[in-house]
Symmetry: C2
Subunit: 341 residues, 2 copies
């Protein structure tokens, strides 16, 4: 077992000093080396099979070239695209990406923050597990939040404009003639869903209508997508048995919307002829349902890319940083689950 080659070996091989060899071989190109010596070094390195020891370089530079993504759960269909968007951007810039799931558990999340500090990540992109997440553990690590909440006014953040998005959905239903719209919302640890009622009643007021009675189906939005779906199904069943049918449902995310759709189908309610349903997010499952689910799409890969860019900027010039907050628009995707009354 022959030992791994170092720049010293290369130096010996080509008869130059360790320093010049290093100059040729280390990343930065902004150094003066003669073309001839550069070639001498390169061929010698090639010949003896030199490979840069990244661990040594990282140590010397005290940077890991790694950024961390902290999210609740990768199996939640909302996140993979987001992560892909981050990864693509980061790879282009030469960073590796470590992805950590906290299972919506604040204590695991805190461990992860500690881990990031320990392991010297250069930065982090964080989707907070709950509204009270404490970022003080992260001292020294630049980070960007994935949120549209105004709870985190002091931090950099990227998110979708969900309020506007909800209005887009309601407007869509309204334009199809729907006046009796019901709301299907899930309470979560992350944010109080009460703003949805505000938007809803505001919308009705603007249209000169009165908010219908029993317009609300609420359910626990759970850790696990499957469980959320089942919860939503249950709430839908109860609602349908106790209330007169609305003409449309707005679901605060696609999983809830799909639950409503499945229950409606099972009850022989024709979607969209008797009932329109629109969701929010734009996950894959909404494309393959029957009928395909209309939705207000959040461009998750764009969120990922932008948050990555902001983090990179912050890493590169941490001085005089002014907090950036980005809210991206949502986009209506009309599919088969919505139609005229």
């Amino acid at each position: 077992m022959n030992k791994r080659k170092t720049i010293i070996d290369v130096a010996k091989e080509c008869g130059l000093s360790q320093a010049t060899v290093a100059r040729v071989l280390n990343g930065q190109q902004d150094i003066q080396v003669k073309e001839k010596t550069r070639k001498r070094v390169m061929s010698a390195a090639q010949k003896i099979g030199y490979r840069r020891n990244t661990l040594a370089a990282n140590f010397r530079l005290q940077q890991s070239n790694t950024i961390a993504i902290s999210i609740p759960d990768i199996t939640n269909p909302f996140f993979p695209e987001l992560i892909k968007g981050i990864q693509e951007k980061m790879r282009d810039e030469g960073y590796s990406v470590i992805q950590l799931n906290n299972e919506w558990n604040p204590s695991i999340e805190k461990d992860h923050f500690q881990y990031m500090v320990q392991t010297c990540v250069d930065g982090a992109i964080i989707s907070p597990s709950h509204s009270g997440t404490d970022f003080s553990t992260l001292e020294g690590v630049p980070f960007v939040l994935l949120t549209n909440s105004d709870l985190y006014s002091e931090y950099d953040s990227v998110g979708n404009n969900s309020k506007a998005g909800m209005r887009i959905a309601l407007e869509h239903l309204y334009s199809l003639g729907h006046r009796k719209i019901a709301l299907l919302v899930g309470g979560s640890m992350r944010s109080d869903p009460s703003w949805r009622y505000d938007i809803f009643s505001e919308f009705y007021r603007e249209k000169g209508l009165t908010v219908p009675a029993n317009f609300l189906v609420s359910c626990d939005y759970n850790v696990d997508s499957t469980l959320s779906f089942l919860q939503a199904r249950k709430s839908m069943e109860i609602f349908l048995s106790e209330n007169p049918m609305p003409t449309a449902f707005f679901a605060s995310n696609d999983i809830l919307g799909l639950a409503a759709l499945q229950v409606a189908n099972e009850h022989g309610i024709k979607v969209p002829d008797q009932l329109s349903i629109i969701g929010m997010d734009g996950i894959f499952s909404g494309e393959v349902s029957y009928p395909a689910l209309s939705t207000v799409k959040k461009n998750r890969s764009e969120i990922g890319g932008i948050s990555a860019q902001i983090l990179l900027d912050k890493i590169k010039k941490p001085k005089d940083w002014s907090t950036k907050k980005v809210l991206l628009p949502c986009k209506l995707i009309e599919r088969g689950s919505t139609g005229p009354v």
Copy 2:
């Protein structure tokens, strides 16, 4: 800006040597230190706010405590659970996980292998992008493959027994009385789908039946889940317009199965009364379709956990390693899309 504390600072603070401080503070507990000095060190470390420099330790030990996962595409619904399974196991053992997507592109995959060597990952778990993937770039890096193909006999691998899984699905349909079963398969870069025909005809022979004419719907299984779905839809449309209806479809994965289901729904074909459909994999979308898709589930989080365990074993004792090949059973999940003829 005060500099970060080192073990030397701690040593000064508590009046002990650097070496003893290191003994107390470094991970391994199997070293002899008096309880009293241990406390002295700990409180001194606490007091001055010492934090271990992981980068330095990694360099010294020449190990990154990082393993890499190489997969085609995280947005493919097959992978997130798999990754979660790996992550959980690896976190327990103190490893971080870097996840790389190659977009089914062999050249990106190769870059990723090179990157792994460069960056000194301790090991890798790889879902090959295509059947001809070349692992020679990875010299020195222990790795485990995620595959059930026998193309890779020389490597460690973990996968599901898809052949047995397909038989389970066919058996299920058969037991419901189906005799005219059609096959919906997607060709991919990873493996030749011809073994599916073999299993199919073998099954029919065993049952003393003759393989029905025009039993095959084939389509391109694409890089992108959405595209695959649309491809499969198209193939289904064509098949239905040109052939007599079978009583059941076996789809080689859930995405194809969902396409068949959606098209059937659109054509007013009652599933499962007029047509049964069964898929394979057990992705989330199959739970939320209407009717919910029966499937043969691959326990992806288990595959992840087991592959992680094998990799860990291999990292710990690379000597006298005998290649391990694990094939996990698939499990029938009966849902609404299959029923008696």
